[in-house]
Structure formats: C-alpha cells, structure tokens
Symmetry: C2
Subunit: 458 residues, 2 copies
Amino acid sequence: MNEKIEVYLASNRDTHLSQLKDFLAIPSISTQTEHKGDMEKAAEWTAESLRQLGMDNVKVYETKGHPVVYGEWLKAEGKPTALIYGHYDVQPVDPVELWNSPPFSAEIREEKLYARGASDDKGQTFMHLKALEAFLETTGTLPLNFKFCIEGEEEMGSPNLPAFAEEHKELFAADLIVVSDTGMIEKGKPAITYGLRGLCGLQIDLKGPSGDVHSGLYGGAIQNPIHALVKIVDSFHSKDGHILVDGFYDDVLTVTQQEKEEFASLQFNEEEVKKELGVNELYGEEGYSYLERTWTRPTLEVNGIYGGYQGGGLKTVLPSEAHAKISCRLVPNQDPDKIVEQLKQHITKHLPAGVEVEMSRFDQGHPYLTPIDHPYVQAAGEAYEKVYDVKTSYIRSGGSIPIIATFKQLFNLPIVLMGFGLPNENFHAPNEHFHLENFDKGMRVLCHYWEDVAKIEL
Amino acid sequence: MNEKIEVYLASNRDTHLSQLKDFLAIPSISTQTEHKGDMEKAAEWTAESLRQLGMDNVKVYETKGHPVVYGEWLKAEGKPTALIYGHYDVQPVDPVELWNSPPFSAEIREEKLYARGASDDKGQTFMHLKALEAFLETTGTLPLNFKFCIEGEEEMGSPNLPAFAEEHKELFAADLIVVSDTGMIEKGKPAITYGLRGLCGLQIDLKGPSGDVHSGLYGGAIQNPIHALVKIVDSFHSKDGHILVDGFYDDVLTVTQQEKEEFASLQFNEEEVKKELGVNELYGEEGYSYLERTWTRPTLEVNGIYGGYQGGGLKTVLPSEAHAKISCRLVPNQDPDKIVEQLKQHITKHLPAGVEVEMSRFDQGHPYLTPIDHPYVQAAGEAYEKVYDVKTSYIRSGGSIPIIATFKQLFNLPIVLMGFGLPNENFHAPNEHFHLENFDKGMRVLCHYWEDVAKIEL
C-alpha cells in the first residue's frame, strides 16, 4: 500500500476522531419519533461529509421513513464499481442510567471509543469515508468507482430501503457491495462473514372467554388461554431441541465438510459464552456444536409471552387472552414465506379446544450466503491478513441483516461483509464502544482492499 | 313468624333502603391505600348502626390492616349464640366508565339496587342488622344471642382476621357462625352453600442469561427461559385435563351418590355458561360434569404468565427471565401446605437445563365442607323454603372464602352460608347490583331462621 496513505491516516487521526465524535453526538434513534429532527440532521451530516470527501451527485433522498443518503465517484474508467452500504441510525439508549458516560457524548477510555453508534454503525461507516479520503488526499484519485448508500432505518429492519432500491435500481448498479456492519471473532482475529440467518415471525393471539373470569367459579370447566398457548408453544420443540413443525427443515442446506473444518479451527470457547451470559449450562439442538447451532441451524424462539395478571401477589383470574411473539432464524435455503405458512398450519393443527386464534406475521428477511471462493471475497480476507498478520477466518453470523439478503436478491452481486466490531462491544446495549485498534487497522484494511480489487479481472 | 315482623319490615322498607344507600355511598375499597379514610368511615358507620340497633360492647378493633367491627347481644339466657360474619369492604370499581350509574351513588332500576357492594357484601350484611331490628322493635327482644364480626379486608383475602380471631377467641365464642356472602342458584331458587374450594398458589420465576440477549447471535445455543417455563407449565396437565403432579389427588374426597343426585337435580344449563362467557366450547377434566368440575375437583391454573417483549411488533430477544403465577383450587381434604410442596417438587423435577428457578408461595386457604345434615344447616334450608316456597338446594361453590375455613379450624363450629346474591349480579365487576326481591325475602328468611334455631335442642 502507498506509504503516503499510512502517513496520512496516522497524522490525521485526531481530526478524524474529532469528526466521528461530531457524528456520534447526533442522537439519531430511528425507532423513536421524537428524534425525527435528529435523523434529518444525521442524514445531512453524512451528505455533507460525502460532499467534502469529493463525492458527486450527493443527495439526501426522502423515503416513506427516514432519508437515504447517496453519493458517487465514477471517474475510474474501466474499473469496477463498489457500492458501500452503511447506516446512520442507532439503537435506543435505555436504560440510560447504566451508561458510564453519556451515550451521545463520545469519550475515549483505554483506547476504546464509547458512544451509541461507535461500532454499530456510524463508526464503521465513517471509516469508509476516511479510507477514500486518504486515497484522494494523497493520490488525487481512487482506484475504482464508488457509490454510497447510507440509510437511516437499519435498526428498524430497513422497512423502506428495499422498495427504494428497487425504484432506483440503476442508481445502485455496481459490481460488488461492501458492508461494514458485522464483527471480527475476537481481538486480533479478523473475519469475513459469508452467511447470515434470515428471519420471520408471528404473533399468536389466543382468545378464550370474553373477559377475565373468576378462577374459583369457572376454574376447571373452561379452557384457560394461557394453558392453550403453552400447549401450542411446547409442541414446537422435541426434548432434544429439534423443531417439530412439518417441513421446517426441508430446505436447510447441509453444512459442507470444509465449513465444519473452518468452524472447528476457530476453537470456539463455550466456557467464555457461559461466563459472559451468566448461565450454568448451554442448551441446544442435539448433534450440533455451538457454532453450528447459531450459524447453520434454524431456530424457533418465543421472544415474548404474556397473558393474565402480572402485578404483585396473586389475582385468581382465568384470563380472557394469551399472547406470544415467536420468531425463527432461518438458514439457507429456507424461505420466510414458506416457513410462516408451515408455522400457521402447525398452530392451527395444535390448537386446543375452547379458544380462538389469530396470527399476524412480522417483517421478515431471507437468509444470506455468499460463495467463499469469489475473488472479491478472497481479496477481502487477504487485505485483513496484510494488516492483522493472522489468517482471516470465514465465518457466519447467527444474526440477520435483512437488507443484505434483499440486495442479494435485487442485484445478484457479490456482497462482502467486512466487519471491524468485536463481539463484546455492547452494540444495542449500554456502553457501546469501539476498539480504536480496529478503527485504525480497519481503514488500512479497506485501503489495501480497494487497491487489490482494482487489480482483479473477473 | 310473628305477623308484626312482616309488617315492620314492609312499612320500614324505604327507611332501610335509604340507610343502605348511605352505607353504599362510602367508597370502602380495601385494596387501594387512598381509601384508608373511607375504610375507617365504613367501620364507624357499621359500629354506629350496631349501637343504634341496641348491640352492646360495640367496638371498632384496630388490626394491622383495616379495623374489625364487633358488637354483641347476650341477653337470651340459655339460648345458643350465633356469630354473624360479614364485611364492609368492597372491590375496586375499574373500569368505572362501564358503570351505568356511579358505583358509590346507589340507584334502583327495575327493582335492582345498583352500587358497588350492593350484593357483596354490604347489602347482605345490612340485612342481618335489619332482621334483628325487626325483632327488637316488634318484640323488644331477640330469640337467641348474637355476636357480630364485620371485617374490612375480605376482598384482600382477610390477611389479618385469622390472627385477630385467634387472639380474641373468647370474644368470638359461639354455637354457630352464619355468613351471608354467597348466592342462590338463580332467581327464585335458594341454596345453602355447604362446600367451598380452598386455594394455594406459587410464583415461578425462571432465570436464564443475566440480561436479555440477541436471538440471532445466541438463538439455538442457550435455553430460552420462556421455553423452559412452557415445558414446566405444560407438564402440569394431561391431555384429558388431569393434573399430573405426584400425589395431587391423594386426599380428594370422593363425591357421594347423594351429592351427585343433588347436583343432577339442579339441571345445570351448560349452554347458558357458554353464552355468558362467550366461548364456543367448555373444557375440563374428562369424566366429570360441569358442576363436579367446578365444585368438587381441584384445579391448577396459570393466572398470569410473562416474559420477554410485550410491546408492538417484534423484538428479537432471548429474554433473561420468564414468570408464571399459578394457583390451585383445592377440595376437601386437600391440604394447601402439602399441595404447595408437591408443586415445588414437580417443578424442580421438570426443570429444563440451562435455567434457574425461584418459587414463592402466595396466601392460601383450606377447602371447607360442612355436614348437610346438621340441624342448624337443615333449619336454614327450611327457613328459605318457608319464604320462597320451593325446595332449597344444597350446593357447593368453586370459589374460596379463606376466612370460612379458618373459622372452621379455629372454632370447629357449624358454619351456615346463607347467601342471597344471584350469580349474574356482577360482584367484582361494573354494575354490581342486588335484586330487591331477595333483599326483602332474605330478611324474612333470617327472621324465620333465628326463631327456628332458638327452638333447636342439640
């Protein structure tokens, strides 16, 4: 890599961190309507940064929700075009009293930057801007063409971006998509995430008597909607953690031997997880390792259950209603629509006597898997290796980034997930932070990567 | 019955109803601390009424909670003493917007008195005072000795009365206890309630990871406390509604053939219940009729369940905790302590891997059964028959009045439950009311009863 780039990044570090702190100071919480003004401010901040960077056609596009920020640089004739996706919105900060420093007043402690969005995803998005700045300021040009798509609704599940992207298909036309919104395995261990789970979900609403009734007068003679709900939920899993919904596993891709070996080489430490989560024992589907369970196997989880009395003491009611929110993490090649139908059929089949059911589906996303052996993916792995000086791992994540799968379906491009977060950086929780080691190294990885991608002939 | 008593009750009806309206105007909601002053006011109103009636040693006894009102008349030498139990506290009135007239401004519509407490239990307690007044005003004396114990915490489960009664055992010494806080079968069909179910309960708190975690990152690899709770709850019942807790039915008294015939003679209308509750189907333990299920069989019901996310949409968390409130209605001769132990053992035995459990018990009460053939009970049935001119039924109730069982254990006296409410009078609900037909006839029943009890030689 060009020596000047190294020097530029090092000597401008303070300026960059100070700029990032400004970005982090905007409380752009997409799910809270009182922050609507902040969302516009964050979009405008992003657009202005793209303009100062030298991007062309920078525009804040209105959507039905929060705006999408676009910018492009298309002067590398004959070279491929990379679409960089990121998001300027952040998670809520509750419970705010658990933060050791204010969530929107970034603070560096022990070489970690503490703020909401430091890692997810303002920090990582910002790194892309500064990597390109390093090229432009030192060489006056960029090794390939770039487009930016920085949205403001990722933490809401990107409800408006798919329609927007479909409408602006030409605007987003590219040769590859790069996203930095995932993580490394642990400190010093970089990783390319090549697979994500998908998501689908259902709300189950059971209705018994028209109002809560006295458990003494009627108890024993009518169906208790909580009991009925429990019967349904308990019918989802076998004792060994297998999901018993008919057809659920039909489309699940078998993990390859190469993947199994790759996973095994990670020497995943289950004891660490137990300690981190404060549980005495792990539990999951029999016959699979921890990584296989979270990365390659689908789940069916109850995310919330409620019915009857929840206050202090006892209230001897038979409740009128009982509710559960369930969601499935899906793996390739499961289809969310098909799974939701299977769930509905299962629930209908297992519905106990004496209650009525209503089911409503939640937003969903497809699972995602990109070929590890694609040159753009391999180049990413090599770029990490040049900076971190260790082998890059190819991993999956148990989480879902629905927009990734949507991009895959819309554009059918290689998507490279180059994440710089660490698992314990508390994204979505109090005291979110970002290790500055990965901020510094990450920008160098990106610079290597763009240089290398420019040389690849497909 | 003395003709003068009939005339007295008829000619003083307006005065009595006006006095009862004053009593009903006091919002003596025992469970709401803002009504503490009203509780004292209602206790004082009761005491003053006893004084005006001519009771001696009338006193408002302080307890750890709301006061107990006592009064006595012991001038019938050689005659038995009846202890009349009632309560001056009432249920909350929420949702108040569903009331057609203000809950504490009693109103008569179509010969029904609408107000909170009209039936449960101010109205029925007041009837006892006026029945004795009719004797005293027309004959100058009473046919036997009387003691009153009117408490203010029945709707809270009488937390302080047992200790108070034990402490004042001599004060409450009597030959029988009469309580009017139950109901008739339906309009025109009087009943003596000779059995009540008992109650015990447990809070189950399950704890998994130390905080809510991401269902994508960890889903499939740790125990979901909701799933674990559902497994436990589902293990309580068989498919045919039988309770599967070891030893649960050991002490359950078999219903006698005489009782079965008595129940059958009631020609209970299941269709009515379905209509009333708005359910398409009844559901209960196989092999038992509706009345057997609610009166003679124990239950295990979940009164509340909660864990994870309950807001709008979906939040893909694996919750840290899950909770259930369970209670059992018990039948003779089940012992609440023993049942709670059995429940705890069952839960411990069925506890899934990966969660920890805490269990805490709720207040409880013994089931109650009094011999139908006791002369004081038979006399009560005959007193109804003299006024209503139909056969009195001997019924049980699925509900619990823990203080009744406590009295039974403390004093081992015959307890006669002479109720005048009707099942659809909305006690504990908006638009509570009391049919004035039963107000009028009920006082006559009581007068007959006291005359007859005075003649019984045991």
